[in-house]
Each structure stands twice: as structure tokens, then as C-alpha cells.
């Protein structure tokens, strides 16, 4: 089955790496990218250019974003009854405990550190794919609102 994954990430390098990593493990992943928080919200709300955007099955969210950072995006997602059921996993270089605690408080589904080493990064993406996109039961697409 196809998986619509929204990657909210401002580093093009990381975007490409993510894409490559996913490609290696799961070719059924459709990776959508938003490079800042505003864009992410527009995509999720299907506003503007994103009117025809698909609803993501899964969101990978970096915290450090321009315009509107990932923390705010997370907060907005989880306050929105129609969006809050989408599993939103933080994927960030920040190891700050405060960020971890805060993210869970905002009801992030999970928090992951972006590994420094590429092989570890690949491994992580693999795990994400294995767990979230294969084993986990994601919420059904058809929803009210």
C-alpha cells in the first residue's frame, strides 16, 4: 500500500538523504516535503497551492524550521481535531531534553534524533519504515472533517 509521508525539513541535503533512505527500504512511500512550518500547515490544511494535497498517513517533523518552527507546527497539528490523529514523529538533530519533553507534552507520537552518521541515519529510516509504516496500524484515511 502506498504511504503518504509528509516530511517537514528545511535542509535539502537531509531531504535528499531521507528520500534515498526510504527509497532503499520501501518504494511505496510517497514522500511529500514542506521546507518550513507555514508550508507544512498549508499542506495539511490543503490550502493554497496544496488544495489537492493528499492527507498524510504519517508526518516526520524537524523542530528547527524557518518561519514557523516545528514546535509550533506540532502544537497546531495536535490542537486540530482533524489533524491530531495523524501520527507525527519528531525527527531532529536536537537532543535537548527540553525539546523531548516538550514534544511529548504536545502529544508528539514519537521523538527521534537524527543520527550524525549516515549509516545510522539509514538504519533509523529503516526502523521508521519497519515500525510505523509496516507494523503500526495507522488511522484510517476516511475520516470526518
Amino acid at each position: 500500500m502506498f504511504r503518504e509521508v509528509l516530511l517537514v525539513e528545511d535542509s535539502p541535503g537531509d531531504v535528499r538523504l531521507t528520500r534515498e533512505a526510504f527509497r532503499d527500504v520501501n518504494t511505496s512511500v510517497h514522500l511529500h516535503v514542506a521546507t518550513d512550518g507555514v508550508e507544512a500547515m498549508a499542506f495539511l490544511r490543503r490550502e493554497g497551492a496544496y488544495v489537492h494535497a493528499p492527507r498524510p498517513d504519517f508526518i516526520l517533523l524537524d523542530l528547527n524550521l524557518p518561519k514557523m518552527d516545528g514546535r509550533e507546527v506540532l502544537a497546531r497539528i495536535k490542537k486540530d481535531d482533524s489533524l491530531k490523529t495523524i501520527p507525527t514523529v519528531i525527527l531532529t538533530t536536537s537532543e535537548a531534553e527540553a525539546d523531548v519533553a516538550n514534544s511529548y507534552r504536545l502529544q508528539a507520537n514519537c521523538y527521534l534524533n537524527k543520527p550524525v552518521r549516515f549509516d545510522a541515519f539509514e538504519s533509523l529510516v529503516k526502523s521508521i519504515n519497519d515500525f510505523w509504516l509496516t507494523k503500526v496500524k495507522l488511522p484510517p484515511q476516511a475520516q470526518s472533517g
Partner: protein, 777 residues
Amino acid sequence: MRSNRIKMKARRSPPAAAIRDLSMPDATEKHLAQMESKYHGLLEAAPDAMVVVNQGGDIVLLNLQAEKQFGYRRDELLGQKVTNIIPEGFAERLIADDLRSAEDALAQQIGSGIELIGRRKDGGEFPIELMLSPLESAEGILVTAAIRDISARKTDEKHLAQMESKYRGLLEAAPDAMVVVNQSGDIVLLNLQAEKQFGYRRDELLGQKVTNIIPVGFAERLIADDLRSAEDASAQQIETGIELIGRRKDGDEFPIEIMLSPLESAEGTLVTAAIRNISVRKAAEMHLAQMQGKYRGLLEAAPDAMVVVSQGGDIVLLNLQAEKQFGYRRDELLGQKVTNIIPVGFAERLIADDLRSTEDALAQQIGTGIELTGLRKDGGEFPIEIMLSPLESAEGTLVTAAIRNISVRKAAEMHLAQMEGRYRGLLEAAPDAMVVVNQSGEIVLLNVQAEKQFGYRRDELLGQQVTNIIPVGFAERLIADDLRSAEDASAQQIGAGIELIACRKDGSEFPIELMLSPLRNSEGILVTAAIRDISVRKKAAVVLLQKVEELNRSNEELGQFAYLASHDLQEPLRMVASYTQLLSRRYKGKLDADADEFIAFAVDGASRMQRLIHDLLAYSRVGTKGKDLIETSSEDALQQALVNLRGAIEESGALVTHDPLPAVLADEMQLIQLFQNLIGNAIKYQSPGVPRVHISAARASGKKWNFSVKDNGLGIDPQYFERIFGMFQRLHKRDEFAGTGIGLAICKKIVERHGGRIWVESQPGEGSTFRFALAGR
């Protein structure tokens, strides 16, 4: 009887004519006439009225006194019945009756005075006393009656009787025993009290010798001797109480005091004795004497010299100590003026003057010690302290003086004064300002440093409140309150430096440190305060604080810098490393061999750089991300480290063992890191065979623990023992062992942050033991 009358007349001129009845025979008549004439002479000479009466009651003879007394002429009475002149009571006595003979009848009267009534010619009656005596004659027994007119006596007697009854009333009423004694020492009168006191019935004592009840001392006094009359004899005793011994009927003796007073009576001077039982008083006196004896004992036993002085200033009593102290024998001082031994200051105090009574005079001294000078027999003087107390006695108020030789104390006081002088010297020499304060907070002493420091002259501060120079924090400490005494109040401060603010004369303030110490003297507790100006120290402290803050800030900045640097460095590095890897992966073999090699170097370089930065970050985090040291289970930390090293352990097949490990004060994360690095190294730098690592801990001095991580690896050459703990120091080539060389530097930083030290014991080829010390609980 006319013939008799006539005969009587004739007899008047010639003496001693006997009364003759013409019917008598002549021979006896002659004898009788002789007798009669002798008798007749006596008769006439008698002072009393004399009448001779025959058994028929006829008057046969009478004398001139009788004529006078009764108012008759002789011839009017001769031959008449005696009842003419003594109507009753006489004639009857003459009658012999069946029960007794004439002699007997008379005999009962002989010698005793009989009181009757006489009747004169004019009919007037008067009391008489008769004294009868028999007279043998030819005519039979005649009775001679001496007749005494006892009118006066009777009046007296009546008066006396009246007096006596009145007196008797008084006598009976008297509280004391009263006994009236005549000059022969016979008890003529006594009262009920006397009966009770002596245990006799009245009739048992009346007429008895007073010596029965007062054996000695009374009767003698009644005797008039050549030197003095009865009056005189008793006069000498009148009014004064005489102490004698009384004797009861049962033989018991008891002390008495008698007060004598004369009593004139018909019988002569009687003596009334009021007899007071003074047993109680005597007992009291004995008790007092005992007391005095005891007091005397106390006096002797007293450690101090004791002297009892009368109000006249005479020494009435003294003890052995007094003798010793003043160098006199007792008899040399008794009765002497107290001024002999205490020339000045004592005797004056005894004097009551117009302004105050003795009690007051003394009262002012009672209880307080008065310092005076004592004078010995040898003339030597010595300082004394006297304590006075009053002593009531029969002689009036006496004063007991306890006299204490205070030579030693005086010497001590002088010594103390000298000491104070020396102390004063020390005070002046002290480098710090010194101020001595009394418990009221007044400055009693200060030194020149204090003058300088506070900008005052000495006299401007002496006597002033210390709050003038130290407004807050000092004076309060001096106050003894209910909870603590003065000693406690100052004791709490003794030794500890107290930081306060002091105030100069010009009003400027400066910080001081106060060191208090107590000083005892005769005035009580004083507090010596050493006052140190700590402005400089304070400033230095402020500077230090500032520097520390700066340091902290720069540390923080450094940490932030290190973090940001490495974090920001990480990202581009990640790109380089990741893409070169992707390149390598994607294009290996697809480009030429050079390209492969180039890419390989690039990948390697980037990876190393990543690791370096990662390690640098880890190193900087030891300081910046370090948490407070709390009690931590080192065993738990080890376990987590082993979990983290699971992969490496499994891969190498290493055997990791450990002893029970203690709780230590640590940052848990860092402790895990420490173990992880050391054990990781132990596994990494292995020699052939199974790597074995053993972790243990042993108690060290203080509360420290020495941990050991022992391996059987390659070992380290001693010359490198220091270097290996340096940053990025490696002993091996890159291709031999992976690693940036920062692991041990991180270990060192962690251990040092924990206040410990890390070192290694090793020999090449013999494994290594890394040891580090951490503080326990």
C-alpha cells in the same frame, strides 16, 4: 460585909496587910499576914489590876489598879462578889463540879488569857483579859486574877480583825502565795495559793515555823541582832525579790522568789512574804544559760574572729579566733573598749544619737560587710571586713561582729588592679582596635587603634554606649535575658567572628569583623571586642564574586560555543559525510579507481571529522551539561554502561565481571559515560584471547572509594601514563585502532568534576588497571 470594909480601911497605911476574916485563927493569921503583906506588895506593884477571889467568888483582895480600872474604892469591892465586876465567865470557873475538882477546873485556865467583859462602877463595860493563878491560903485556894483592860487591844483587834479580814480577802485573792510571819518565824497567816503551792492545809501551817516551807534564807532575815533592829533587818529585804528554795509538803523543792513587806500588828512587826514560784523562770534562765553556753560554743567554733560588744563599746565576749587574730589573751580584751582592736569605724556605729536609735544605728550595718582596719596587740595593722548582727540580751542590745581578715583578698584586689594595668598595656599594644564593654553596653576601655579606627578621642568614647560606634548587632548580644545569663549571652559569641557595620565619628560606615571574649572582673562580666576593619576583605570578596561570575559566564559561553560550534559544524559535516558515502555506494566501481580512492579518502576524512566533533561535544558537555552530584548507585551505572556496550561486548566475546559497587556522589549520566569509556577501551585494546574486564571498588581515606577497571589487554608503557589522558592523544595508528583519543580525556574531566583523580597502573603486555577515586556518602 461591914466588918471587912472597915478592916480594909485600916490596912491602907501599913504595908502588906493580909485580908482577915475575923473568924480565922491567929497563928496562921500571922503567917498569912506575913505572906499577905509580901504578896500585897507585889499586888500593889503589878501594872495590871489584880484581884484575889475565894472559891465562893468573893473578892478578898484587890489592888490600886483594880480600883482604878473598875472605878471602885477598895472597901467597896472587898467582900463583894466578883461577879460585880466580872459578871460572867469567871465565877463559874471557880466551881468544882462532879466532873472535875477545883484544882482541875482552875488548872484548865492557868496560864492562858481568858477574854471576858469587865463592868465598871458606872456600869460601863470593857473587854478584859484574865490571867488566873492559884494562891494557897489558910482559907483554901484563892485565885489571883490579873485583869488586863484590853479595850485598846480589842479595838485594835477589831480593827485588826477588820484589817485582817480585808487583808485576808486580799491575801486570798493574791495570785502569789502569801505568808505572814511573825518575828519568831511562825506563820501567822497564809492564803489559798500558799496552801496549794506548798501542798499543805492551812491549819497544818498556821503557827508552824516558816522554815518548814522555806528552809533557808527567810527566817534568818527576820532576826534582829545587835547591829540592826527587826525593822532594819526586814527593811533591807523589803521590795527586793530574794531567790530562795521552797519546800513542799511532799519534800519536793522548787525555786522561789520572795518579796517581803512589813506589817505592823499588835503582836509587833509581822512580815508579809509574797512567794512566787519561779520554776519556769529558772528553767528559762537555765535554758538561756545553756543557750548562752551554746552560743559561746558557736562563738568558739566560728572560723572568723567573733566579738560581742555592748552599746558602750565594751567587749563582752570574744572567741579564740579573735584572740589569735588580734594577738591578745581573752582576759586582756574582755571589758576593754573595742576601739583597742578596731580603732576606727566600729564603735561610732554603735552610738545612738538624736538622729537614730541604736537599732537604727545598727540596722544600717546589719548584713553588709564593712571594710575597716584591725589593730593587733603588737601594733600591726591589717585590713578587715566586719559583719554586724544584733543580739538581744538581758543587758540590752549587744552587737556581734564577725571579723574577717581580708589581707589576702586585698592583695588579690591590688594584684588584679595591677593586672588590669598590664591588661591595659596589652590593649594599647594590640594591632586591632580593642574595645571593652560592660553589660550595660558602655565602653569602659579602648585602645589607640580604636581611637584611630573610629575617629574619636578616647574621652569621647569612654562611658558612651557602644552603639555609637557599632549601631547594630553588638549591644544586643550583651543582654542577658530570661533565657540565658550574661555568660551565656557573651559565650555564644566567644570565638566566632561576627560581621557587622561600624560607624565612624564622621558618620561614614565600614564593615567590621568582631571577635568577642569575656573578661571577668570585680564589676562583673565585661566583653572585650577585637574590631577588625574588613573593608578590604569585603572588596576582595566582591571582586572575587565578580570574577567567579565572569568565569561562570564565560564557562557558559564556552559551553554554548562548544555546543553551537559542534552542532552547527555537524550539519555541513553530515552532508559531506553522508553524500560521500552515498557516492561511494552508488558509484563504486562505476567510476575509475582513482575516483574510488578519492571518494574513499573523502568519506574517511568526513567520518573522522564527525567523530572528532562528536567527541569534542561530548567533552564540552562534561562541564556544561553536568548535573549536580547526588547519591548514585555505581552498580546501576555500570549496568547501563554494559547495556550500552552490549554490541561491543558480544562482538569481542569479552567477559566483564565486577564486585559489589558502592553508592557514590555522582552525576549518573557521566558515571555511565566513565564506565563505558573505560570498559570500551578495555575491550578495544585487547590482546589475543578472551578479553577479561573486572571492575571493583575499595574504600579509601576520608569518604572516598577507589574504583578499579582491570583488563588483560595490551598494557601501556609507563612513559605514556600522563599523555594518554590528554585530548586527542593516541598511542596507536589510526588503522590499528579506531577512536579519536578523547575517551580518556573525557574520563579525566568527568572524574575531576567529581572531585576525584584518575590514574593508570600498567605494564606493556600485562594489561592495565585504570583507577579513579570518587566520594562516597
